[in-house]
């Protein structure tokens, strides 16, 4: 109403978002599936499985979020450049 809706990013390619979405879904769902780890054995350095398995998921999730970050920011940058590449770039896109 008050301002024209100038796009800040170009159209998305679904690939990176789907890959990141799968990684993040795994990182949320697997640590919440309690029956898989609610056991004592095998122990690690005297720690029951229940405890060390959950601690192990901290770095695993961090890694998955890290990979998602790389995927998504790379695509984000590409989409931004697609818009900011100037008017010329956009008319080219429209002509195709």
């Amino acid at each position: 109403m008050s301002t024209p809706d100038v796009p800040t990013r170009g159209p998305a390619r679904p690939g990176p978002y789907i890959a990141a979405g799968i990684l993040l879904a795994v990182a949320i769902l697997v640590p919440l599936f309690v029956p898989a780890y609610s056991i004592d054995q095998p122990r690690l350095a005297g720690m029951p499985f229940f405890y060390w398995y959950q601690m192990l998921w901290v770095p695993i999730t961090a890694g998955m979020v890290g990979i998602s970050y790389r995927l998504v920011t790379k695509e984000d940058r590409r989409r931004r450049e697609a818009v900011r590449g100037g008017r010329g770039a956009r008319t080219e896109e429209q002509e195709q």
Binding site: M1, S2, T3, P4, D5, V6, P7, T8, R9, L24, A25, A27, I28, P31, L32, F33, V34, P35, S38, I39, D40, R43, A45, G46, M47, P48, F50, Y51, Q54, M55, W57, V58, P59, T61, A62, G63, M64, V65, G66, S68, Y69, V72, T73, D76, R79, R80
Partner: protein, 565 residues
């Protein structure tokens, strides 16, 4: 109960540990100086601290490193560091160790949601989550509901930070069972200093202090996690002692004292506690303040990948609760009763040289100051933006907003102080438990709004009312099996079943269902939508995209209007 405490009361005054106390006082003074100095750190040259962007959001310019420390100090509060091991010590895995999966699933959720909130807030100059809801739905009722929920949920959370400081002071020997004023005096002094530097420096103070606090806490926990298992014969022994204690049948209830490894009956409680808490955490105003203070859209996403280091720290800290079982730590409070909150401070004092215990205790006490400052700033911003400006003075300029917010931050802090001094600690704990349930009820309005306008504003409001009502009643009906008091916990059966889950999650489900059904009904009735001032492009904007204020200068077409009901 009183028969048990009376004979012990004469011996309850603890000796003061001089060396540890000196270390704590020196570190506290250092941090206070840092807090006042922070006002000049990266300060805006033209405006000083005379706007909410500067005072309340640190100039919206924190990069990855500062954000890592700030959010680390903001989310992993002193109370967490005291309460999680305390819960492990007292009742084991379900009430304590769920904090680990909670802080694991938290970060994928943050990754998904928070950069969109950052973008739209940056573009429109939103300072609080309620600002966003107001801009998105144009509903004053919904905005005020979100703002009030945030303020009410934050107040007891600040009070609990004081409980954390109090635990440290008690263990250090400050305080007396006879003289109440003397007991609370150090706490009052600490809080006056905190209030003063928050007032002058705003969000910059906790950001700078968080760096010191986090380094101290990492040092303390890493040393403890390596040294204590060696001292107590390895993790084998520690877990053995914990299992013996937790499996012992309590004569009061006829049930085991706690849970060592959850059985099938506790699965749903365990995962709903983790998921519900993770969804709720970034609805708290202090978390959103931390996010909006960052420099660019993806700063928070990068942090979602590096913040889990704190979760690892928290996991090991939780296990120190078990170490305290095997160490035979006796957390006896001033009145002679057992107070699990004292377990971790007492463990450090008993098993380390006084100077090192001083560092660990200082880390916990300073760790309380960081979130207390951020929480009071966040609550003050909510009051200023969504109550003062939206309801009382719509024409308030940025300078007035900063002034109101500074004063509100003082009011909020002293409110929390009175809460802790005048009322029982359990009142603060009960309120915080309720706060967690309530704050999750703002999730549909905030999060759904980031992706879609499908929900109707009044349907979201009705869902919020239903969720709050169910959550409050259900939490009240939980009775502590030993003391017979209400608000005995946050777990209850799903109505009509035997499945024990976190109350907040059921309340959230009710909230969401009502919001969805009523949205369909209201759309069919063609009830009017509010004015949405956001655009699709806003949700992907980055730091170098023009802000809406700039765009409006370039295209002065429409008028800005405050939200209507």
């Amino acid at each position: 109960m009183s028969a048990l405490t009376v004979p012990l009361a004469t011996t309850a005054d603890r000796p003061v540990n001089g060396v540890a106390l000196t270390v704590v006082v020196v570190l506290f003074i250092l941090v206070a100086v840092l807090g006042f100095f922070a006002a000049r750190w990266r300060a805006g040259k033209e405006t000083g601290l005379h706007s909410l962007d500067e005072w309340g959001l640190g100039g919206r310019g924190f990069g990855t490193w500062v954000t890592w420390f700030l959010l680390g100090g903001d989310l992993y509060t002193a109370y967490t560091f005291v309460a999680v091991p305390a819960a492990m010590w007292a009742t084991g895995a379900v009430s304590g160790f769920f904090a680990v999966p909670y802080t694991i699933v938290l970060y994928p959720i943050v990754f998904l949601l928070m950069s969109r909130l950052w973008s739209v807030s940056h573009r429109h100059g939103f300072v609080t989550p309620a600002d966003f809801v107001g801009g998105r739905y144009g509903s004053r009722a919904l905005t005020v509901a979100v703002a009030l929920t945030g303020i009410v949920a934050t107040m007891p959370y600040i009070a609990l930070q004081l409980v954390g400081i109090k635990a440290v002071l008690t263990v250090l020997g400050l305080g007396s069972a006879q003289n109440v004023l003397l007991t609370d005096l150090p706490l009052i002094i600490a809080f006056v200093v905190l209030a003063a530097y928050t007032y002058t420096s705003g969000l910059r103070a906790p950001a700078l202090i968080a760096v010191v606090k986090d380094l101290l806490i990492y040092l303390a926990v890493i040393v403890a996690v390596i040294y204590l298992p060696i001292k107590f014969g390895g993790w084998d022994n520690i877990f053995g002692a914990a299992q013996t204690k937790l499996d012992a049948v309590s004569p009061a209830t006829g049930k085991p004292a706690g849970v060592f490894i959850p059985g099938a009956a506790s699965y749903s409680a365990y995962w709903t506690l983790a998921l519900g808490s993770a969804m709720a955490l970034f609805m708290y105003p202090h978390s959103v303040t931390g996010v909006l203070a960052t420099k660019s859209r993806n700063t928070i996403r990068k942090n979602a990948a590096v913040l889990p280091l704190y979760s690892l720290l928290l996991g090991f800290l939780a296990l120190l609760g078990y170490a305290a079982i095997s160490a035979g730590t006796k957390p006896i409070d001033l009145n002679g009763a057992v107070n699990p909150q004292l377990v971790v401070p007492q463990l450090f004092l008993d098993n380390f040289p006084a100077w090192f215990a001083g560092i660990a205790l200082a880390a916990i006490a300073i760790g309380a100051l960081v979130p207390a400052a951020i929480m009071s700033i966040a609550a003050a911003n909510l009051f200023t933006r969504n109550i003062y400006r939206d309801l009382i003075r719509p024409d308030a300029d940025p300078r007035q907003e900063a002034k109101v917010s500074k004063i509100a931050s003082l009011v909020v802090k002293f409110g929390a102080l009175i809460f802790v001094i005048a009322m029982d600690q359990s009142a603060a704990i009960n309120m915080q438990l309720l706060g967690g349930i309530w704050i999750l009820q703002t999730f549909p309005a905030i999060v759904a709004g980031l992706y879609t306008r499908w929900f109707h504003r009044w349907a979201l409001f009705a869902g919020w009312v239903a969720g709050i009502a169910y959550g409050t009643v259900a939490a009240y009906n939980v009775v502590n099996p030993v003391t017979k008091a209400n608000f005995g916990g946050s777990i209850a059966a799903i109505p009509g079943t035997n499945v024990q889950v976190y109350i907040a999650v059921v309340a959230f489900a009710i909230n969401l269902i009502i919001a969805a059904v009523l949205s369909l009904v209201f759309r069919a009735m063609k009830l009017p939508d509010g004015k949405d001032i956001t655009r699709n492009s806003d949700y992907g904007a980055d730091e170098d995209d023009p802000k809406v204020a700039q765009l409006q200068r370039e295209y002065p077409l429409g008028e800005t209007g405050g939200p209507a009901f």
